[in-house]
Symmetry: C2
Subunit: 254 residues, 2 copies
């Protein structure tokens, strides 16, 4: 394994339900709601209220659905461990991957407007997450400005990220940007930015980057031959971060 999970995934024995304070506080430091949860000077009751609308869900295994397209929107989810992809299948049967989610990131924010989940969310490995009732969050956020701001921030961030893939860039640039971005997000959670495991298949990567799976294979090989990365199965090491950044810059920079 390229990195160690800091968040224990062995809470399978604990029944789903209200998070106990100890667990919740420990997790909150890496969670997307960290800023709201751990905000200083906060009324302890408010903090308790926020924790009370969280449910730790059971464990999801590879292939399990966190939610399905067109299901009524009820909750958003914070990743605790593992990786989830969001995707949808078009009428021609082709799968489009919208995003990959790492520990600490939020899923479901794009369901608020349509009031239904606009895509499927599928676990790529063993996943645990926190479920937040959205109606409850909305209510609470009117009394808790920090929470409201955090929601605004998270959503605004998502709007910006979406345009990452927008440009018409070469396959090499796309793959470089993908790996650099993944490394940066891992680093933000305390993992290694240069060594990690790809939980998703080459096909998933291809469907995310809008390339053919064969092209993903070829480009990974090409980057390795240029001594930019080292790939072994799903283990990846970024050998030359500067070189990779140079490739990815035109995508990540703007």
């Amino acid at each position: 394994m390229g990195h160690e999970r800091r968040i224990p995934t062995d809470n399978s024995l604990a029944p789903p339900g209200i998070a106990d304070d100890g667990d919740a506080m420990a997790f909150c430091t890496t969670c997307a709601f960290g800023a709201a949860c751990t905000a200083e000077g906060y009324d302890k009751n408010a903090l308790r209220e926020l924790h009370c609308l969280v449910e730790h869900t059971g464990i999801y295994h590879e292939g399990d659905y966190v939610f399905r397209k067109n299901t009524p929107f009820t909750a958003i989810y914070a990743m605790r461990a593992g990786m989830v992809k969001t995707c949808l299948v078009d009428e021609r049967g082709r799968e489009h991957v919208l995003g990959f989610f790492l520990p600490g990131e939020m899923i479901g924010l794009n369901a608020i407007y349509p009031e239904r989940y606009p895509c499927d969310a599928i676990a790529l490995d063993t996943v645990t997450l926190c479920q937040f009732s959205f109606p409850a969050m909305v209510t609470l956020s009117t009394r808790m400005p920090t929470l409201q701001q955090q929601l605004f921030k998270l959503m605004s961030k998502d709007i910006g990220n979406a345009s990452l893939l927008a440009g018409d860039h070469s396959a090499d640039e796309r793959l470089a940007a993908f790996l650099i971005d993944l490394g940066a997000r891992y680093a933000a959670r305390g993992f290694s930015a240069t060594r990690f495991r790809l939980s998703m298949s080459r096909t998933d990567i291809a469907n995310y980057l809008h390339l053919a799976a064969e092209t993903v294979s070829r480009v990974l090989r090409r980057l390795q031959n240029q001594n930019l990365i080292h790939v072994s199965g799903r283990e990846v090491e970024i050998v030359d971060p500067a070189g990779m950044n140079a490739l990815a810059r035109c995508i990540l920079q703007p």
Copy 2:
């Protein structure tokens, strides 16, 4: 002209400042904040407060900047008339168009998280808009749940829209989806869905759809030869909406 502007653009003589109620109310029916502004049963004071944080800006002419990349984020804008593009220029000097904005739509929501505008916003023709101080909106929205919900909705919508261009589709499908989408958005504001004027250049369209300008020309010609549309300069008529929808479906449907 393919459609009539319902919103007068001749307020250039009025000094920027607080919107008078008459104007504001008239506009609100087509504005993105309509739901919040015109919500029934609302405290008249709250409504007045919302209107008070709006400023009608002066007129922008073609090429004028509404805001510039990296400027500190202070306000979001609601389009009243005309068209604006948001774009950024990469280090190679190539322009990427992120979006086009029609009357009633909001600009600047992607600046909340970075706290700076992440792109330029440029008027494509004669533009008028309303400026909302964001800090003031945030404060007000804690007392005005409808406003908060409206903000959530608008942002969530933007997250979803961004994935419209994501797929790897043919140039024909992209152009068809672009025109159908534009028509639908015009229709949502009371204009014709099948006859309108493209305020942006072929190059802008190309930079938005990630095609070469020459390809845009060729595809428009191709669609016209198939009797799907009629193009004359920047005037467009969708002659066969069903056929165009069939082409665009795989992009717009999911």
